[in-house]
Symmetry: C2
Subunit: 321 residues, 2 copies
Amino acid sequence: MAVYTDVSDEALRAFLSQYDLGAPLSFKGIAEGVENSNFLLRTDTGNYILTLYEKRVNEAELPFFINLMGHLARAGLACPQPVRNRAGTALGRLCGRPAAIVTFLDGVSLSRPNAGHCRALGAALAGLHAAGRDFPMRRDNNLSVGAWRPLFVQAEAQADTVAPGLAERTRADLDVLEASWPVGLPSGVIHADLFTDNVFFIGDTLSGLIDFYFACTDAFAYDLAISLNAWCFDPDGTFHRDKAGAMIAGYDAVRRLEPAEVAALPILARGAAMRFMLTRLVDWLNVPAGALVQPKNPLEYDRRLAFHRAAKDARDYGWVG
Amino acid sequence: MAVYTDVSDEALRAFLSQYDLGAPLSFKGIAEGVENSNFLLRTDTGNYILTLYEKRVNEAELPFFINLMGHLARAGLACPQPVRNRAGTALGRLCGRPAAIVTFLDGVSLSRPNAGHCRALGAALAGLHAAGRDFPMRRDNNLSVGAWRPLFVQAEAQADTVAPGLAERTRADLDVLEASWPVGLPSGVIHADLFTDNVFFIGDTLSGLIDFYFACTDAFAYDLAISLNAWCFDPDGTFHRDKAGAMIAGYDAVRRLEPAEVAALPILARGAAMRFMLTRLVDWLNVPAGALVQPKNPLEYDRRLAFHRAAKDARDYGWVG
């Protein structure tokens, strides 16, 4: 939630001179995205988002994200569309950093989605998976099951300072997840970070999906499991079966879930909760003194893990197929 | 440069229900303003800025700022116009804080204004002073000459750790400023913070002035002296006489400077530099360890003070009247 790089009006004008977007009418840094600097740009021709990719982003991966957004937008998904400059490329350089301009999406993020919103999200997620089917590039999920033990090792010694017993139950969960993580499920491009702040609504209508910078190639049902975690629990761990059931039904109505995917939902949901618990735990333990940005609480996902540990099958998530 | 308060879509909707602005189409925190949380709001009816006034703002002073913007906008100045809700008031509450919606102004801030931009700024500043003439409210300048010695006392013991000799030359300057600070100059509403980031241009045309939260009642020529400091020096202290001469001429063409104002320009410019050197020095010495926001360097204004100390009269600032 920050702007890391100042862009002068002169640098902006020089950058825009490579595009057919017209003259800048307005240019404001926005508090969106944790890793990059984002600016809302208005020109004669419309509204855009200009992104500068900062140090933590692997530049070699940018063509995957940029090309994916272009591919999904052309396939009809409501997502930001990268704008090409006159040389035909959508990835340029500004202030010494890789930079791209994408179209602006209207819509507002919901803080407390209801079951109807969750159904719409499920349908949009299935639409994203369908639209990405013929995307030719591949990016491994570097935050999947193989990455969790190394993440935990960084936090293990201090884990119990965050919650008593956290280290022991995380070790036990990792043993289960590593032993039984499903393979061979239908796979392709997944968003992998479809939290509520990355989904826009106008009124009750879903208007778009943003922030594809965790997108990768993995099991479709794992993407659904991530959003079940993100959308269907309160911060205190309370699970909303009606929301989860609506999200799964919304997904299944657009892309039929296979029996193996349904059967894998509990372990996938448990793994998704583990992934976010661990990255939050590492951030939580490494926050610099005096930092202005409060890291997200890993215990929200520790509480979700307790639910997933007890779940028997997909019916516990509201599946009625 | 931050958003301090999260506003949920529900809180936003409840707040907007008091206005006739239509439904929210987009809502994004923007990195503008040091003291408040600012959001770019798009609705069916247009673009707006929603501001939440955070703790450091004195709530009792808000009606002065809000009413002033309304007054100046009605008088034809290109500045944000506060939007009234259906109860007829422009100051409401959101997330437990005072909040206001103002109209959005197009334009981009310049990082390196030229003499033509400075001339336009001078004319706009004189237009602001003229538009504020019949504004009935009054707010004393709490960062004028009487406030400088108490500010310095907070920083005096550590001043020489920032630059050798800074304490001694600041003490000597304060003696001169306190002994010879002009009184009885033409006065009224001044902006008091018209730096380049508070002035928008579209192409080379000045399109608007923003951020009236330092506005107060003081000598008009002091406002000009603040902008001379902000616009006509490089960070290394290099003075651009052509820019200063253009700014003064642009001002004088709209509102004729009186001989007493012209005579006072060097001492006013020296005082304006002292005011910003001191507030920056106090912030510089009080930055929390690990803070993400780098405070502005007080030495940029220490270098300007050296120029002002040597200036003999307004001709040294490019005045040719």
